[in-house]
Symmetry: D2
Subunit: 360 residues, 4 copies
């Protein structure tokens, strides 16, 4: 132990530190450097998980671990190696692969945490949100905002896997979580092509007059791949035609938004889809706040704080706060899904971005 | 002239009133009753215009009045009989039938006034908004918000007519208008099926990352009938299935909204589409603020302050502030387009609504 | 009558125009120039009213016109010569001198219109707002936002005069007004030094936890001269000390704001106080929207669209939309109160400002 | 290890769990109970720190630990016993006693973290915020929002102690912190009675026209005890007079707000002052989010999750999320300062409150 200016210990100083401990006190000067670094210095590390590995292990869980009440979900979290013992992808974000066998049901519950699902491949499962069955298909983003009952139901004989995203680490840290069990089965086992939510809300710029407006989370439960794909393709076509549309040359991207406000889909989670043309690159960027990406189609590389990682279909990677990231697409192009805690960061005024020019 | 309590004139009082006049003064007590009525007491009156008449007269204008620079548009305003000499539909809203002959062009200009077009029937004209050609087709709502250059171009040999809606009376009264001429021809004579605006913005809940967010007016230039129709149909189907979706029994309705905010399409104008099932009715309602309706499909009646008026395809009617209105659909159902000054009223805190139960 | 390109009349054209009239139609092309001018072209004109004249005539009204129910107020509006027959200061703003004799009472009422009083000189009257007596003293701004009951009560033997500002012309034009009589006497004849509103809300940055927050109008009923004066003096002192504080060299100004939101005091009216150092000038400015100014202390000149007008204590002038205005202070300095329709203009997105450098 | 339904281990299951570990995966079902509790289940515990103890130990630090660059502040954090190793008062909030000896200076720095000081007793120190010296006196709340340079300077020969509040634990957890050193001395050693910030902003409802409006944090650097005290006293007087003003019988409270928006003083921290009449009590309340209270004047008790703790002048206590709290005042009344993470909770939609009636 020492003083602020590094002077050596004295018996009085040692006694002082003992008295700090004994009285539940902690001096700032011994931890200021760590607590208040010059730039964000996350404990979480940039990390990549291979989809093939995740899927194989999830499949084995499907054989060994029945889904049911209590555990609630056969979901296996991506555990950031920099956050040992937590099972968190980043300090704020949970990301799991969920696996549901043929004709299985994950029982209904609700929680204060905001959640979504994103589907890499497959179909046949309906997620039932407050009694409204929502088909899950390739490329779809499905929302279950705070305090909506939801369960999942496999209407087919085939298993299906997808990723779950939640703000559970943030909610746990800040002690905001509530949780309640619902029906052991889903409350509606129908398997309609589109949900009631989409029938009410799924049109560009149209709102039902019957509904309260400006909701905290989007009432649109499903963002279908058909539209996402079309929007990304159009941006690249417009770029070809000489019109501003893309984030930067060869990089198209859309944000999924709350249809009642134009803001993020949920108060704590931002969701986006990115498309890189064959051979395209993004310049290195640093942002305050963390995110998780999933490679959806195509292949390429991501460079995280200077380390290059190969991306194949389904691979997931975590980008902690202020980590430099840049993307490169192979000759087949590259589609990526991204979600982040950006709404938390922005609503509290902590957002900063640093974009470097691409290395010449 | 007299005092507040009705006492007869005196020479001193007469001199006082003469001095008011001479010094540009006006006593409140002689006009308070008129200036501050117990409830809104509009000079504009409820009025119906028959589409057939409007169209025939517009067509004759097409033969007699060439469209061109200066007059700018072959548009003929609906002149509320309660507002003589103005050509206004209501104190805040302009509504005109615009007629464009085969291969004619209405030259480009821009103005601080917010404007839209709504198409009852026909096709073949493109409205070019800041250089982006937007096809106009039956049932479409097309926006030209404040200060966007716009012109119209008929790509066919056939004439086309539609309605224009503007906040011009409001803008004129409050002295907020700016106006600027643009190109004599439209800047892009292409006739694409969908506009660049729709390619960027026309997806449910998706926003391009490249664009500034939360714009004052919607960047989506066209709200297509295909979606409007589908949304209204879905509301009635959901009602049949026992789910909340409609405004009230048999009455479906959507609001066109700014895709970046979920608020009204433009800061001064609200636009909606309503559908009544065959035989359905709405209860009498009074609202602060004025609106203009157009019967789009089907037939029925509207009751305005107790007077029943027949509605056939294309008929337009003005509903001044605090006028009681109720709609009844004939056996074929009834679709109506509506626009109003509700955003002005609501943003300034003057909104009130009074809904009476339907007469038993 | 003629066509858009100025061709002479024909019998067919004359018939067409007759049919327009007969069918409540009005062509745009004959009025487009007037309806949509290149820049705002107000009918209201810049005009100055001398306080001495206003006061003398108001005083004569005090002898001849008893205040009472029906007429409600002994208030005499400043009638813009460009708006004959209206009694309006500008198209949106009412401004009146109100005169209350010793021990007189102006009965209570409430209305949807927003109103305030500003006191040039004198004291002894309490305005009772929803039962809360608010003392009126020199330099104070007193609010009576929409739908608050209010009456005025002279607790002394001496008459008092002040100005009333309302959005009544705007409310009348847009048909949003409601009006209701209240008590014939004020409901509380006490004469406390400060109101209950001030006791709850009148502290810098402090809000009572018991109150709903973010109200549409300020719950603070009185903005006292003591604070206004101190704030203006401090800005000039800070300027002297080399710190940014003033609008421009020698020109201090504060805005009165809604203490729950930091926005304007009421949804339709902005209120400000300006102070020019001895000999200071402002550059010519044009703004969309209209305002009324009152010279409060000192003397100087205002130049409106190039015409210079002398300002002495109490003089009022109207500045229509897009009128160029600039202020010059005499050797004693100049304090001015201003109110405007800026919140209407800004909330609807019509605001523009043009500032020219001072003539060299 | 076991399955969701509690079945015993098998070799396959053990291998599965080993593979989870090896591949940075963590099953949800083993941690769901802990991660997503039925109600918030904080690790932080309710805890009380006695001011006398804190002060004595801080004073000894004053003798042993010179203040200076690197450690930056002689501040000693209240270390919640439920969060060992952190030095945090709650998961989101830092609270420290800071001690500055006669004529000492704490050097300038700035950080993304939001901070404030609250003064229990004493005076003589100026906190210099972006070059503006702000006097610190008994009962004052002093703000240093994100990224404002600030240092402290003791202008007297006497030591002074106060509490520092920061969002540092939240910022650390979410990796949003930036930090930069400034001047080793404060940039202005003047000791004015009031700061430039107060001279510009410290008036009820008045805003300088020269300043950008609607700032994320309050530009008013000091909330003076004079006003806080007067506001609390007025609420109790109004209660005596029969008017609504207090939170509940005998419990007055004000919130310190951002003078440009009426929202909380800083994006992450809410600050309030509470006053209980002699003998008054509050009903038990539970709220999502955590807070720290300091007893400012008088004495009484606080009951936290059923445990009663004595409060004397200066005592501090931490209230973790969803902890039941109730206050009781002794015969001399009780004043308390409180700060919390409520803006974080509310902006993200996690707020809930449960108020129980007082035990009969």
């Amino acid at each position: 132990m020492q003083t602020m200016d590094g002077r050596a210990d004295s018996p009085e100083l040692e006694q002082l530190y003992r008295d700090f401990d004994a009285n539940s006190m902690a001096p700032l000067w011994t931890q200021r450097d760590d607590l208040m670094p010059p730039v964000p210095s996350p404990k979480a590390i940039p990390h990549l998980w291979k989809w093939r590995t995740l899927y194989d292990i999830a499949k084995r869980s499907g054989d060994l671990v029945p889904v049911g009440r209590g555990g609630e979900r056969r979901a296996i979290g991506l555990a950031n190696p920099g956050l040992p013992g937590t099972g968190y992808a980043t300090p704020t974000l949970w990301c799991a692969i969920q696996y549901l066998g043929g004709h299985e049901t994950a029982p209904e519950h609700r929680h204060a945490q905001n959640a979504f699902r994103f589907v890499l491949e497959g179909e046949g499962v309906w997620t039932v949100v407050n009694g409204d069955p929502v088909a899950m298909r390739r490329g779809d983003l499905l929302l279950t905002p705070a305090w909506n009952f939801h369960g999942h139901h496999n209407d087919t004989a085939n298993p299906m896997a997808w990723i779950d995203g939640l703000d559970a680490p943030f909610s746990y840290y800040t002690d905001v979580g509530f949780f309640e069990y619902g029906s052991d089965r889903v409350t509606d086992e129908a398997s309609p092509d589109i949900s009631r939510s989409e029938r009410l809300w799924g049109y560009p710029g149209l709102q039902p007059l019957s509904e309260p407006r400006r909701l905290p989370s989007s009432p649109l439960s499903a963002y279908r791949w058909e539209y996402t794909d079309r929007a990304l393709a159009a941006q690249l076509e417009l770029e070809d035609e000489g019109h501003p549309a893309t984030v930067e040359q060869g990089h198209a991207a859309i944000r999924f938004t709350n249809v009642t406000t134009g803001r993020d889909v949920m108060p704590t989670i931002r969701a986006e889809m990115h498309r890189l043309r064959p051979g395209a690159s993004t310049p290195p960027r640093r942002e305050v706040g963390s995110s998780v990406w999933q490679s959806f189609e195509g292949s390429g590389t991501v460079v995280l704080n200077g380390e290059e990682l190969r991306l194949e279909k389904g691979d997931l990677f975590a980008v902690p706060s202020w980590t430099s990231w840049e993307l490169h697409s192979d000759s087949g192009g590259l589609d990526l899904f991204r979600y982040s805690d950006a709404p938390i960061i922005e609503r509290l005024g902590f957002n900063r971005t640093l974009t470097a020019p691409p290395a010449g």
